[in-house]
């Protein structure tokens, strides 16, 4: 678009033609107030707050619906305009209850700000206010009719933004009311309810306190919390969530989650889980003392020192008597990158085993290998918002990666992106799709073959091969296509699909996984046959100095098979619940020494000999990588007395096993640090690390419990993890592109991918212990689910 020049308040401004005046002024630092305007949603012009004076136009005009034009002359703050806005506020305040002292929005309320600015506090309106009782629309959405200023933001947010259309406006004039989609006379309790994705975006969009959150209502005030921006622990999108934290007698409690400054990778969006499902952290069932199983089979709380002593001693004994190969280590999908890296390093160098695995929710190894040697072929989550064309093969972002779905919808709505969907189920995103191909069940392999050019495979993928052929041609003609792949595609099929995509110029790929750090766990080498950065175990000498085993270890299933045969002396599980996830027979572990680091008494923890109470992702610092490969910071928000981070516990156990801490975590400085001097210059890891630190202007870290010490090592040793520190520490996301070196291709490895199949209201173990998610599940179970298609 050509630029136009116009004048606002005497300033000459330029903006692309078609820009709305309100946006153009905002970019120039001139604030025009508005209640109903919301960038990216349709225009409403309902609130009349943004009125401005245009030269040669008789009446005041709304800046939110006026596109800038050449030579336009605008006044935004004259006495006349101030008076008009003040009058608007007086009308709004005519029926708005002045319950700011208890209203959740108090302090974060746009109406308050405007009243403060324009001073319409005295009202000429003598009639009594029209009061209505507040309504509970769902466990998480409450509605206070009298506070509503009818800006329609929530209606548009729900309809256009979320494609749910659960809210509407009913009645007329001053008795208009926002109405949810399940009217009172159709419900057993005769109250109106909302049947929707329960994302809370309407609450976020509400400029006042009309829509409030069930988990935060009347709990505290915004200024009484510390706000910590961190990365959500639930799905693989890695949205930024801001946690409101308050001190309590035993730590600090998370009282609110929301998308406060909208500065994250997720833009405006936050889903139900990111917004409300922090409450697992405050669950009373959390284990807060180390527990050791006694000879009578009961757990006894012991001191930390005793627990670490016991675990260290036993693991050391078992390693020395039965060999490191008899020990298995299982990591979690919600550990930070630093913890995952440390855990595999601990397993490989201290325990001396490659029997290490995690719950794989997507086949990142094949993904990395298929993209070996390519650059700029992996997509960031940000690309889903800007790509001109998107091909979605498998997966169901609406339920499993809501942030991705939001971005795709927004991209289709605002940029007219072309979306192509291929799925064996009728997923909701097909409503935005330009073309939707319904696959036969398990037809993904055949589809990948067909796209890659095997015409014979078409008939086993779909019924109408001609349509698929047209579809293939259409997709092939797209430049800069973004190919989003669900976890249904694995191994050779995934490689075939990527092969097809690589023939399209500018195509980028992303593989969608579940959980906050499944991608990080794979990147960091929580795998029996891969070191960090998808380096095959057999072809690397990264850990050679520590005499790490050079052949691939046992994977998740083999570990439990070995346990069943009595060949597994010990199992160390960090933040994972494999017993439930893989339906392991509890009897298999009867002769195994099991150590579990966990928040709750899960099925796995119940079989443990030692349970160490762990902190969750909201209670630790570090970095996580979302399923696209965007690295982001995690900041400690909540705290709970009696739990420790997995990082600290791994370090302490290694210490009790008699390992050399300086080799496990590169830390220390000054006289007492061994930076390789004792082994001569240029002779060891410690030395190389010191040189690298110096070269990168980084200081040695002073504590073995500092995750950044490990981040230094990750950055130095893991291919693709060339992290920009400043980006990370500023809370920004950065896209990383780890790909296999391509030197060694591994043929027949088992991918062992087991998608979590979490829906909008489940989240693995955390979901089971989140009171809110359970409430919402129960609530939605009684709703007709007009909009949501339950995940198959």
């Amino acid at each position: 678009m050509a630029d136009v020049t116009f004048t606002v308040d005497g300033k000459k401004l330029t903006a692309p033609a078609g820009t709305l005046l309100i946006d153009a002024c905002k970019s120039a630092g001139i604030e025009i107030p508005a209640f109903c305007y919301y960038p990216g949603l349709s225009l409403q012009a309902a609130c009349r707050m943004c009125v401005v004076r245009l030269e040669k136009v008789p009446k005041l005009q709304t800046a939110c619906t006026t596109p800038v034009a050449e030579g336009m002359v605008v006044q935004t703050e004259t006495p006349e305009i101030v008076q008009a806005r003040k009058a608007t506020l007086q009308l709004l305040l005519g029926n708005h209850p002045l319950d700011c002292p208890v209203c959740d929005a108090g302090g974060e309320c746009e109406l308050q700000d405007m009243t403060f600015k324009y001073g319409a506090a005295e009202s000429f309106y003598a009639e009594p206010k029209n009061h209505r009782e507040e309504q509970k629309w769902s466990p998480v959405v409450y509605f206070d009719r009298p506070r509503c200023i009818l800006c329609y933001r929530c209606v548009r947010m729900c309809g256009e933004g979320m494609d749910v259309f659960a809210l509407g406006i009913q009645n007329r004039g001053s008795s208009s009311v926002i109405a949810p989609n399940v009217p009172a006379d159709l419900t057993p309790d005769h109250l109106a309810h909302v049947d929707c994705e329960q994302c809370g975006m309407c609450i976020d969009a509400c400029p006042v306190g009309a829509l409030t959150s069930g988990t935060y209502r009347y709990k505290t005030r915004p200024w009484e919390m510390n706000h910590v921006a961190t990365t959500c622990t639930h799905c693989g999108d890695g949205c930024k969530t801001t946690l409101g934290v308050r001190s309590t007698s035993d730590g600090s409690e998370i009282v609110r989650g929301d998308n406060r400054d909208k500065s994250g990778i997720n833009g405006d969006f936050l889903c139900n889980k990111g917004r409300y499902a922090f409450d697992f952290a405050n669950n009373d069932d959390r284990i807060t003392q180390p527990l050791v199983r006694q000879s009578n089979g009961e757990f006894k709380p012991v001191s930390w020192e005793e627990a670490f002593d016991y675990v260290g001693k036993r693991l050391r004994e078992l390693r020395d008597t039965r060999g490191g190969k008899s020990i298995g280590v299982i990591g979690g999908n919600r550990l930070t990158n630093e913890e995952a890296y440390l855990l595999q390093k601990f397993a490989r160098t201290v325990v001396g085993t490659n029997n290490i695995d995690h719950h794989r929710t997507a086949d990142y190894v094949s993904f990395a290998q298929a993209l070996a040697g390519q650059t700029n072929r992996t997509a960031s989550l940000r690309d889903t918002l800007t790509a001109p064309a998107i091909l979605l093969v498998g997966g169901d972002p609406t339920n499993q990666a809501p942030g991705t779905a939001w971005n795709i919808r927004t991209n289709v709505r605002n940029n007219r992106a072309r979306l192509y969907v291929v799925n064996s189920a009728e997923i909701k995103l097909r409503r935005q799709a330009k073309a939707f191909v319904r696959l036969a069940p398990f037809g993904y392999g055949a589809l990948a073959g067909y796209l890659a050019g095997d015409n014979a495979a078409g008939s086993s993928a779909v019924t109408d091969v001609n349509a698929l052929s047209t579809f293939r041609d259409t997709v092939k003609a797209e430049e800069n296509l973004l190919i989003l792949i669900g976890s249904e595609l694995r191994g050779a099929e995934l490689k075939k699909l990527i092969e097809f995509g690589l023939s399209i110029p500018g195509a980028k790929f992303a593989l969608l996984a579940d959980y906050a750090n499944s991608r990080g766990a794979a990147d960091m080498g929580l795998l029996p046959d891969m070191l960090p950065g998808y380096t095959p175990v057999s072809s690397s000498n990264t850990f050679a100095e520590y005499n790490a085993p050079a052949e691939a270890g046992l994977d998740m299933l083999e570990i439990f098979d070995a346990a069943g045969r009595g060949e597994l002396s010990a199992l160390y599980v960090v933040g994972s619940n494999p017993v439930a996830r893989y339906s392991v027979d509890p009897a298999a572990l009867k002769d195994t020494f099991v150590v579990v680091q966990e928040m709750f008494l899960t099925e796995t923890a119940a079989l443990a000999d030692v349970i160490l109470p762990a902190a969750n992702l909201y209670e630790k610092s570090g970095s996580v990588t979302n399923s696209y490969g965007d690295l982001q910071q995690v900041k400690k928000a909540g705290d709970r007395a009696g739990v420790r981070t997995d990082f600290e516990m791994i370090v302490r156990i290694a210490d009790k096993m008699g390992a050399d801490m300086r080799k496990l975590v590169p830390f220390g400085k000054g006289l007492r640090a061994d930076m390789g001097q004792s082994r001569g210059a240029q002779s060891g890891e410690a030395d190389r690390h010191a040189i690298w630190l110096t070269a990168n202007n980084l200081e040695p870290k002073l504590s073995p419990f500092d995750p950044y010490a490990i981040l230094d090592e990750i950055q130095r040793l893991v291919p693709g993890y060339n992290v920009l520190r400043l980006q990370l520490l500023s809370g920004n996301d950065q896209h990383l592109q780890p790909a296999a070196s391509g030197l060694v291709q591994i043929g027949n490895r088992r991918d062992l991918v087991l998608p979590a199949n979490d829906t909008l209201f489940t989240s693995g173990t955390l979901g089971r212990y989140s009171a809110m998610l359970n409430d919402v599940q129960q609530y939605q179970a009684n709703q007709p689910l007009i909009q949501i298609q339950a995940a198959d």
């Binding site: 007329r172 949810p180 989609n181 007009i786």
Partner: protein, 169 residues
């Protein structure tokens, strides 16, 4: 044959609706006439009517309810057999519309938007019904009565009670 299986409407009305959605540039333009015709046949806009109309036009039920709640002529509860609608807009008001309304209230023993116990009469205070030249006026179902006096109103009500009144639908 209607496009909707198990329609709750009479075959004629169903056929009319099938046609109605085809004659507008946008399907949802047929919404208001459909609601009105459905109300005339069923007596009020029931939940079943909302469901079927939403299905016919391809809207959410919520959309239908949004529009339905906007118009005061559309009812969501049954009216009496004879719905007495007294105009109280400016012309009628100046010529005694409110007296007529109060008289009806006293005579029938019901208030605005209420139905007598026997279900024969319901009463509504309505906006202008376009009979300003003959104010004050009222409408019983779709039949007009104008130049009203309280005596005239009594006669009209008695006629209807006796089942003699014109019941224009």
């Amino acid at each position: 044959m209607s496009e909707v299986a198990n329609t709750i409407f009479s075959p004629e009305l169903a056929a009319r609706f099938d046609h109605l959605v085809t004659i507008y540039p946008m399907r949802r333009s047929a919404l208001v006439p459909m609601l009105l015709y459905a109300q005339d046949e069923v007596g009020y806009v029931s939940d079943a009517v909302v469901t079927e109309i939403a299905q016919r036009i391809g809207l959410l039920e919520l959309d239908v309810r949004n529009v339905l709640s906007y118009y005061s002529m559309l009812r969501t509860k049954p009216a009496g057999k004879y719905n007495v609608q007294v105009c109280t807009n400016i012309s009628c008001m100046l010529r005694g519309g409110y007296e007529i309304l109060d008289h009806c209230k006293a005579k029938l023993g019901i208030g605005h938007k209420e139905v007598t116990k026997d279900g024969v009469f319901s009463l509504e205070e309505v906006e202008c019904i376009g009979a300003c030249c003959w104010a004050p006026a009222m409408q019983v179902n779709y039949d007009f009565h104008d130049n009203l006096t309280t005596i005239k109103v009594d006669e009209i009500i008695e006629t209807y009670r006796a089942g003699q009144g014109k019941d224009v639908k």
